[in-house]
């Protein structure tokens, strides 16, 4: 049982390394960074308590929001999904990504107190 899990994982990693483009790998690295930051904030809140709850929320939501926006960018850029996004060019996707981030950060900084 465990042998097959390890086999699946190693096969998956091999496929990933060979068949994903660099752009997507950069996005994935960025995603990992956001994930770690968000997880760290959540753990900190569990340990220390929710005192400035608005600060916790705004920090956590900034991580979650960035993650979501980066995932959307990854989906829209991936050439394999081109059929679903005929009217959205990669440049348009990136522009949307930046605009949404502007709004997100404005809200986050207002709410962080």
């Amino acid at each position: 049982m465990s042998l097959s899990v390890i086999a699946v994982i190693s096969r998956f990693l091999e496929e990933y390394r060979s068949s994903t483009s660099n752009k997507l790998k950069v996005i994935d690295a960025y995603l990992l960074y956001i994930l770690l930051t968000g997880a760290f904030q959540f753990l900190y809140c569990l340990l220390v308590g929710t005192f400035p709850f608005n600060s916790f929320l705004s920090g956590f939501i900034s991580s979650v929001g960035s993650f979501i926006l980066a995932v959307c960018l990854r989906i829209q850029i991936n050439p394999q999904n081109k059929g679903d996004f005929l009217s959205v060019s990669p440049e348009r996707a990136f522009a949307d990504f930046l605009f949404a981030h502007t709004v997100l950060h404005l809200v986050v900084v207002n709410f962080i107190g």
């Binding site: 752009k23 950069v26 930051t37 600060s55 980066a70």
Partner: protein, 502 residues
Amino acid sequence: MFLIDGETGRGQASLTPALARYDWLSRRVRGYVPVSADVVQGRKMAMDGSAMRGIRKRGLVMSPSLSAGFSSSVLFVLSAALLLQVVSGDGKTLVLLDNPNIRDTHSIFFRSLADRGFDLTFKTADDPSLSLIKYGQFLYDHLIIFSPSVEDFGGNINVETITAFIDGGGNVLVAASSDIGDPLRELGSECGIEFDEEKTAVIDHHNFDVSDPGEHTLIVADPENLLKAPTIVGKPTEKPILFKGVGMVADPDNPLVLDILTGSSTSYSYFPDRPITQYPHAVGKNTLLIAGLQARNNARVVFSGSLHFFSDAFFNSPVQKATPGSKRFPQTGNQELAEALSRWVFKEAGVLRVGAVTHHPVGESTPPAAYTITDLVEYSIVIEMLSEGRWVPFDGDDIQLEFVRIDPFVRTYLKKNGGKYSVQFKLPDVYGVFQFKVDYNRLGYTHLYSSTQVSVRPLQHTQYERFIPSAYPYYASVFSMMAGLFIFSVVFLHMKEKEKSD
């Protein structure tokens, strides 16, 4: 709304009359007299006279005067409907007597009243020209009824008008005796006091005077049986009190009746010339010799079971109990007690009023339009007491301030601070519309109630705490997200695809 004129302490009131069915108006209805111009909110006095005097009537079954019960309440409504009572002026007192001799036999008492500035008008009780109220205004401030045996008051006076007089803020001193008539018994029951029947007397076989003619009705009352309230009964003395008259019982549920002088535990009230065939009306310490009432509008009524108590003979007589070995006192304490009672009942003693009420944040001198939560606030109030005709600062150590929004959030003692009482405290972390309430109700003093309304607002958007140390990780993560975004965009946009054909 009841208002008391700040200058003279007299009251004026406007009543909304109601029929006397009010089981729900219990003693929990608090007093309602805003006594200074600074009070922003008083309470509307929508209670009728019976609740004012603390008595309860259940249906029509009340007291022996029940035949007059229903018609009297109708009459009361009709007369009350005409009343816009204003009791103001200076010491005008109507004295009702059984016969003109009483003026002479009680000359010391009346002279002491006249010396204190009261304007006494002596009339017999069935004088047809008697009138308490004319064109909606009371003609007198105080009423003394020294006519125990009256069967029918003359002129415009009857039990309903006297009750309306009390409800309008007038003070009454009533003295009864063993020949008590029905009107006085009815007046007593209007105020929560039940007199015993005509021809009964208070009898005490262990505490009668040596000069008692034989029926043991000339009672010697010890000063220990006096109410512990120097405002009402004066300074404590050793001198016993002579009493000869009818006994009273008060409803123990009535919170407004005061047992000023009770009989000893061996006293009882019955017909002195008949053998006892039923349980006496009053027994032991329940026998009230002198009772008082301070109504919710601060009108004061004192009922004395004995007219002889106020007489010159009793003031000057020596007193000694007829038990062997008892001490002989050359003079009774009647005169001092009568004087103290007359001071209390005619509002010369034990009268309080509220002066200026101020509140402001600590460090400033004027109140803001609205306080903010968790502000530090200082509240001060001036309370004055009437003493020898002048208003002097009151000295009390147990006045409390409540900060109330439906329920009290803060309750604290007020400390004397110069000429006023003040306290500093922190507003609660709750916003809303609050009231500073001072509600002071002490034995023998008028009820003091002052209520000032303020708003407390939540923090403005810019008044919250900033740069909280325990939130630094969150601040760091947000800025790191922004930095990460920036770096990612730079890398992403300048990247060249290495493998295009895969």
